[in-house]
């Protein structure tokens, strides 16, 4: 295990999600992977710029990349679990090469497929997700040492000029919010939050 990874304090996803949301003061878009990641995002208080996935495991980062390309002046944050990012590690290579400076990827790493019964993921073994991300070419990839470090990284996320990836070691506490279940409402609300809805009478 790398020194950085072993020095990372075990944190709580709900608490970190709240800290994140409190720091989003510019209508940043947040794309949340399925399950506990988006349960905690909604528990932190719904924002019109939140997108909640109901499936398509592993696609939070590609979706967020699309948002980042379409709106290069808006900060975009992808929230993924370790199991989800392991399902599509190739997307990190794409992000590394496209280099969207407005994209931040946050990986909540508890080393388990939490929602399916806490089976271990590869990160419970020898795989270091930050080392993987650096290897893809996302140079600014960091283990979150503690809450203060998380705040600092979020606040200066544009300063290094490229995409940023943060991985936080988290505990196995379940997500706290009630999931939304209506994909059309989620999509329409997100588009309104991003200013891209058609403004028709029936648009959400």
């Amino acid at each position: 295990m790398s020194t950085e990874r072993s020095l990372a304090k075990t944190l709580n996803r709900m608490a970190l999600t709240r800290r994140l949301v409190q720091r989003l003061t510019h209508e940043e878009a947040v794309v949340a992977g399925l399950g506990n990641t988006n349960f905690d995002l909604i528990a932190a208080g719904h924002r019109p710029q939140n997108f909640y996935m109901l499936g398509s495991m592993g696609l939070a980062c590609p979706i967020a990349l699309g948002v980042a390309l379409a709106q290069p002046n808006r900060g975009v944050i992808a929230l993924e679990g370790d199991g989800s990012i392991l399902m599509g590690l190739g997307c990190l290579t794409t992000i590394a090469n496209v280099k969207p400076r407005n994209l931040t990827v946050i990986i909540w790493d508890n080393g388990i497929y939490q929602i399916t019964g806490k089976q271990p993921t590869a990160t419970a073994g020898v795989t270091d997700i930050v080392a993987v991300a650096r290897g893809t070419g996302i140079a600014h990839s960091e283990w979150v040492r503690d809450e203060t470090h998380f705040d600092a990284l979020i606040d200066r996320r544009f300063e290094d000029g490229g995409p940023l990836l943060l991985a936080a070691k988290i505990d196995d506490q379940p997500g706290q919010g009630q999931p939304l279940r209506d994909p059309v409402l989620i999509r329409a609300g997100f588009m309104k939050g991003l200013g891209t809805s058609r403004n028709g009478a029936l648009d959400a």
Binding site: S56, I63, V67, L69, A70, T94, M191
Partner: protein
């Protein structure tokens, strides 16, 4: 105009600027044409479902896009269609070069190709097989417009009749 020039023109006519693709022999002139044109934003994806996800995100943020792949790549996007694009009503334009037919030499391609149209039908995704240069522009233009106005994905399948297919298919029989 060649088939790929017509596709690029139809995408431009409908302000489809994002070009997310996994490389393919048949798609090469299309991909190179888009890369050479500053109108398009080209993203080479590692997997086809990733390309679909990026197109979905870009659409929601105001940038229209197409995901390009070959038939075997389509076999990787079932979950992206069934749990993202279709239920969220996202008009992803899917451009698929068709392998597995008319001279296919790889048995794996012939089998996976047979899953494509049944998958599209099971999900209720409209598709068109593009085989004729004379009708190409009309089908593309109207299908892309329909996708965006009805917020529904569409699959545009490029037949070997249109593209000439994989060059290896016309090699000597051995």
């Amino acid at each position: 105009m060649t088939w790929f020039e017509i596709i690029l023109a139809a995408l431009k006519d409908n302000e489809v600027r994002l070009f997310a693709y996994v490389p393919d022999n048949i798609l090469t002139p299309l991909v190179e044409g888009a890369a050479a044109d500053t109108y398009f934003v080209s993203v080479g994806a590692a997997r086809e479902d990733e390309a679909v996800g990026t197109v979905a995100g870009a659409y929601m943020a105001g940038l229209r896009g197409a995901a390009l792949m070959q038939t075997s790549g389509f076999a990787l996007i079932g979950n992206a269609l069934g749990s993202l694009v279709v239920p969220y009503q996202i008009p992803a334009i899917l451009i698929i070069s068709e392998r597995g037919t008319m001279g296919e030499f790889n048995i794996g391609q012939t089998l996976v190709a047979r899953t494509m149209r049944p998958t599209l039908e099971a999900l209720g995704v409209m598709y068109h097989t593009l085989a004729d240069l004379a009708t190409l522009r009309f089908i593309l233009d109207r299908s892309i417009k329909q996708a965006f106005t009805t917020r529904a994905p569409v699959a545009l399948i490029l037949s070997p009749l249109l593209t000439g297919g994989n060059p290896a298919s016309s090699g000597q029989l051995i």
